[in-house]
């Protein structure tokens, strides 16, 4: 079984920032993403599961070259305005052509 190296970008942010993130992902033409609601505690206090404040976690499998420009754009346009953290991990997939 041949596995291909790929990056997994994980973004956790308040729900109000969600659409901006999707816009950035779409702009960079990622092939897909997965997301779900989470709760969290961070520098900006506990985010409950309320109507106005909850967190969402977004996961994107993507190639190394897209990674950099996406992270850079999120940093530049969103870090100052929203509660947001992101981290990158390594993963292996079977069909690398599915994740670009």
């Amino acid at each position: 079984m041949k596995l291909y190296e790929i990056k997994l970008l994980t973004i956790t942010c308040e729900v109000l920032a969600q659409r901006n993130i999707f816009d950035i992902l779409d702009k960079h033409q990622v092939s897909g993403y997965t997301f779900y609601e989470v709760e969290g505690s961070g520098s900006k206090n506990l985010h409950g599961k309320g109507i106005t404040d909850k967190n969402v976690k977004i996961e994107v499998l993507l190639s190394n070259d897209k990674l950099e420009s996406i992270v850079e754009e999120i940093m530049r346009t969103m870090f100052s305005d929203f509660a947001i953290i992101l981290y990158v991990g390594d993963a292996k997939v079977i069909r690398s052509e599915k994740f670009t």
Binding site: L16, K49, G50, I51, T52
Partner: protein, 354 residues
């Protein structure tokens, strides 16, 4: 009944008491909460009920009687938004973004507050004009759109200036990332204006409210019969359940009040009072009923705390949400439903008896 007695008797209604119970639960750090699915569903239900009721009433009264009050409401809402901005910017020394965000939060209307108002009037045995639901629907986006438009104008001007300065003094600064970012922001901002306008109008609150008004208008009293139990009789109980959750959210915000500063606390009480009184007086003059004038006043007195965060967070991301959410939900909402409603009913009764 004097104002004090009315406030006292209003305090002892389930709506207010369960709201307070929610606050207490949050303060003593109880794990009491209404599951999210329920508290997301309830506003939709409340707006559907308000809309159906309004639409059915409008079938009887027709559109004409609605037109003047609606335009007056829009005009007042716009004037008040501008007025709030001046007060916040000049007297409160808030920055442009916070000023516009707060101004529109208080220029906009609160659907939850409106629901509580209807339930308050029902308790007092007073009726109101059905078309007020339509005014609620139209008023929702008006104030946001104005605030966002003005913010965009302000940002554009700022960017324009900076660009000129940049071009004048140095050529290398072109590569300065901040300058680029700023420019990009201005473009983003302009795009987001139509974006926001679109989002405000297709937002769930407006869609369900306008839709239900039309449906109410189409089906009339008779067609409403089979669903009256759910969309009218359950209303009072449903709002009680929703207010438990509102109380819990407000209770969690109480700590933040310290951070908003005394100026904003004063603003959150005085502005609704003035706006509400103006609303009652103007609508009485326009010929609305005792209850209709109270609801008209409430539309102007109320601040938006469900739609506002969603719209403003993307539209004016530079503004601090803790300011507008805390003041609108933590101060103005309780003040409106506990104190202003009785004041406005007393005032309205008085004016109608002149």
């Amino acid at each position: 009944m004097g104002i004090i007695e009315l406030i006292q008797s209003n305090l002892l209604t389930p709506v207010v008491l369960f709201f307070i119970l929610g606050i207490v639960a949050a303060r003593i750090k109880s794990d009491l909460k209404i599951p999210e699915a329920i508290s997301e569903f309830l506003p939709i239900y409340l707006l559907a009920a308000i809309g159906l009721h309004g639409g059915i009433e409008m079938r009887t009264t027709g559109f004409e009687s609605m037109l003047i009050p609606m335009f007056v409401a829009i005009a007042l809402s716009l004037i008040m938004t501008l007025n709030h901005y001046q007060i916040l910017r000049k007297l409160g020394k808030f920055n442009i973004f916070d000023s516009y965000a707060l101004a529109s939060t208080y220029g906009a209307v609160g659907a939850v507050t409106f629901s509580v108002g209807l339930s308050f009037l029902k308790n007092q045995g007073v009726t109101s004009e059905g078309f007020l639901a339509a005014i609620l629907a139209v008023l929702e986006p008006v104030s946001f759109v104005l605030a966002i438009f003005l913010t965009n104008m302000a940002v554009s001007k700022m960017v324009q200036k900076k660009k000129q300065t940049l071009q004048k003094y140095s050529k290398d600064d072109q590569n300065d990332p901040t300058a680029y970012a700023e420019l990009e922001a201005s473009i983003k901002q302009n795009r987001s204006f139509y974006h926001v306008l679109r989002e405000s109008i297709t937002g769930k609150a407006i869609v369900i409210l306008l839709g239900s008004i039309m449906i109410g208008y189409a089906i009339g009293k008779e067609g409403f019969q089979p669903i009256k139990l759910v969309f009218e009789d359950l209303f009072a109980g449903a709002i009680v359940i929703f207010l438990i959750e509102m109380g819990i959210i407000a209770g969690k915000r109480l700590d933040d009040i310290r951070n908003v500063g005394p100026f904003l606390v004063g603003f959150s009480i005085i502005i609704p009072t003035i706006n509400g009184v103006i609303g009652v007086a103007v609508s009485t003059f326009l010929g609305l009923s005792v209850g209709g004038s109270v609801m008209f006043g409430l539309l102007l007195a109320s601040a938006s705390f469900i739609a506002a965060p969603a719209v403003l967070r993307t539209a004016i991301p530079q503004a601090k949400p803790s300011l507008y959410i805390t003041s609108a939900l933590g101060i103005t909402f309780p003040y409106n439903i506990i104190v202003m409603l009785p004041i406005m009913l007393t005032l309205s009764s008085y004016l109608h008896n002149l």
